[in-house]
């Protein structure tokens, strides 16, 4: 054994840190730390809060109540109604938006003025939700609203108001006011579906379309067998995103109906807003918030899964 032994130089503190955190991880650290402070900490705080009955007056102490806040929800009719309305809201909004969005995207795909149409169509998305609310309550107004006038004139609207009518549509659907809110959401977010579907359509393999045409498939068959399967994952992503935002934003409802009339538009997130910031029952609010969050986390898992799958067989 000849040769020189080199005494390994003792690593400096800085180098040891560098070793423990690879370069890419160090780049992520600031964001991770900031996010942990503003989201993880509040998250655990919320779980803690949901086990307490919070003090209403200064000087009082929070009382530990265990799972009572959760148990009480089962007796809370507004809560159960809110869950039901949230599901209605999501299902109706999404199906109308999907139908409109996919059809319009198919119609304008490859059209001469496609770009111009896209620019005009995407405008509603940039409008603040609260402005959407005011806009529609202006248009729905009984004495000077143009939409009210129009719907009355074509004889479509049977009731004398839109936003103050709790009358169920066709007997089993939610109220007229509820559909007023839905129409605002559809106006606001159909453009997103159009954009997403258009992006998906551009990536449908041309050779598959050609092959279908060669085999003599009609345009409906081609649509059904070639185009739609190819944009399926894109549609799924659109659906998940819309669900998130339906739960996320209550600004429009806040302006249009404030959950009324007779709670017929009080979807769960809005009920949560009332519990927390009108009645200031933070413990109960935290319990509802936690349930909503679990729901959303579940959806996010789904989103990541779809995202991953898409990466294996790239669509975009």
């Amino acid at each position: 054994m000849t040769g020189e032994w080199q005494v390994p130089r003792k690593k400096t503190f800085f180098e040891r840190i560098q070793g423990a955190f690879p370069f890419h991880f160090r780049l992520m650290l600031p964001a991770i730390i900031v996010l942990a402070i503003i989201t993880l900490y509040p998250f655990f705080w919320m779980i803690w809060l949901s086990l307490h009955e919070t003090a209403m007056n200064p000087g009082e102490q929070d009382i530990f109540v265990g799972l009572a806040n959760y148990a009480n929800l089962l007796d809370d009719e507004v809560f159960l109604n809110g869950v039901k309305l949230l599901i209605w809201y999501f299902v109706i909004c999404l199906s109308v938006e999907m139908f409109l969005g996919v059809s319009i995207a198919l119609l304008i795909n490859g059209m001469k003025y496609e770009n111009l149409f896209v620019i005009l169509f995407l405008m509603p998305m940039m409008v603040a939700p609260i402005v959407v609310g005011y806009l529609y309550s202006y248009l729905y107004n009984v004495s000077f609203g143009w939409y009210f006038w129009f719907l009355k004139s074509i004889g479509f609207l049977q009731t004398d108001t839109i936003l103050a009518s709790a009358k169920p549509v066709l007997g089993f659907l939610p109220s007229v006011a509820f559909f007023g809110v839905v129409a605002a959401d559809v106006w606001n977010w159909t453009p997103l579906i159009i954009l997403i579907v258009l992006a998906g359509l551009k990536n449908v393999p041309q050779d598959q379309l050609e092959a279908a045409r060669m085999d003599g498939a009609g345009s409906w068959r081609t649509l059904w067998d070639v185009t739609l399967p190819n944009i399926r994952s894109v549609l799924l992503i659109a659906g998940i995103l819309r669900f998130m935002d339906n739960v996320r934003y209550i600004d429009t409802i806040y302006v249009l109906t404030k959950g009324g009339p007779a709670d017929s538009t009080k979807i769960l997130p809005f009920h949560l807003y009332n519990i927390s910031f009108r009645y200031f029952e933070f413990g109960r609010g935290a319990a509802v918030g936690f349930i909503l969050l679990l729901f959303i986390i579940f959806m996010a898992m789904f989103f990541v899964k779809v995202f991953k799958k898409k990466e294996v067989a790239p669509v975009g």
């Binding site: 780049l27 900031v34 959303i296 986390i297 959806m299």
Partner: protein
């Protein structure tokens, strides 16, 4: 006449009809999309008496009434003279721009790390980040409210409240920026950095001098999208910034009191809220799909 010619002629006619129908459908949809915005902008320039004029039910010719008015900028002027909206606009700008800057700076670092590095638990980190973006606003606000009020940040001081808003907006802007920019960095081929490293660049140099300039359009688009998200926010601002730092959406909502609704001013202020974001949105139209789907769908 040849039979095949007949067939092809009838097919041509069918095609023409279909084309016309398509245009009609698209234009009907277009009218429905544009009308609300058009009504808002036009009515904001009307005197209230004229803005409230609509025809009798069923009187189709009365639509003309919509266009009969003498334009006035009264409501806009009132927003600055009688309501003093200037500080609210400034609050909105400060809160949304500062949150977006934080989001874009920290976001692009993290996004690059996520896109390139092989980090243990990377999946969990990215999942956690995206669930922050998707969390319902109210659910995020409940704990934030109680934490901030414990720290005394909710008292009626302008800068404290602005700090609350900035932090609150970062909860959704930062995750958004990370996911969006990650998809952007992934589209840049790794060979570029490898070549730079062969030439003796350090990891950081390669990122800073070579990758960042390449990703500039994405970073700009990310900034604008973050800004639109925060600028349009109402619920956070109404609860956390209510006392000292009213933003434009909150101020707009206060024009609607229990006593009366100042429609003229609401429409004017709504127009002011939308027009800047519409312009910005159109500037980054190319990245809109990628942005709004957090990188899941690319154009």
């Amino acid at each position: 006449m040849d039979k095949t010619e007949l067939v092809s002629r009838s097919q041509k006619r069918k095609k023409k009809i279909l084309g016309t129908l398509t245009y009609i459908a698209v234009i009907v949809f277009l009218i429905w999309t544009i009308t609300p915005l058009f009504v808002m902008v036009v009515s904001s320039f009307k005197d209230l008496r004229e803005a409230f004029q609509i025809p009798q039910v069923g009187d189709w010719k009365g639509v003309i009434k919509f266009f009969q008015f003498t334009p006035t900028t009264r409501h806009y002027v009132e927003l600055f003279t009688m309501e003093d909206f200037r500080p609210f606009i400034i609050n909105s700008l400060i809160a949304s721009i500062s949150a977006s800057i934080i989001a874009v700076i920290l976001g692009s670092l993290a996004a690059y790390g996520l896109a390139r590095g092989r980090i243990p638990g990377e999946e969990h980190i990215s999942f956690w980040i995206i669930s922050c973006r998707m969390a319902p606003v109210v659910a995020v606000m409940v704990p934030l409210y109680s934490i901030f009020s414990g720290l005394g940040l909710l008292e009626a001081y302008r800068w404290r409240n602005l700090l609350c808003l900035m932090l609150a907006y970062t909860t959704f802007s930062l995750p958004f920026a990370v996911w969006f920019l990650r998809s952007f960095f992934e589209d840049i081929p790794t060979e570029i950095e490898e070549a730079a490293k062969v030439d003796g660049c350090s990891n950081f140099r390669a990122f800073w001098d070579i990758i960042l300039p390449l990703a500039k359009p994405g970073i700009v688009a990310g900034f604008i999208l973050c800004m639109i998200l925060s600028w349009n926010d109402f619920i956070f601002a109404s609860v956390l910034g209510q006392q000292g730092a009213k933003t434009l959406p909150v101020a707009t909502s206060e024009l609607h009191s229990t006593v009366d609704i100042k429609w003229g001013r609401i429409l004017a202020s709504g127009t002011m809220l939308c027009v800047p974001m519409l312009t910005l949105g159109l500037l980054i139209k190319k990245y809109l799909v990628q942005g709004l789907t957090m990188g899941a769908v690319r154009q």
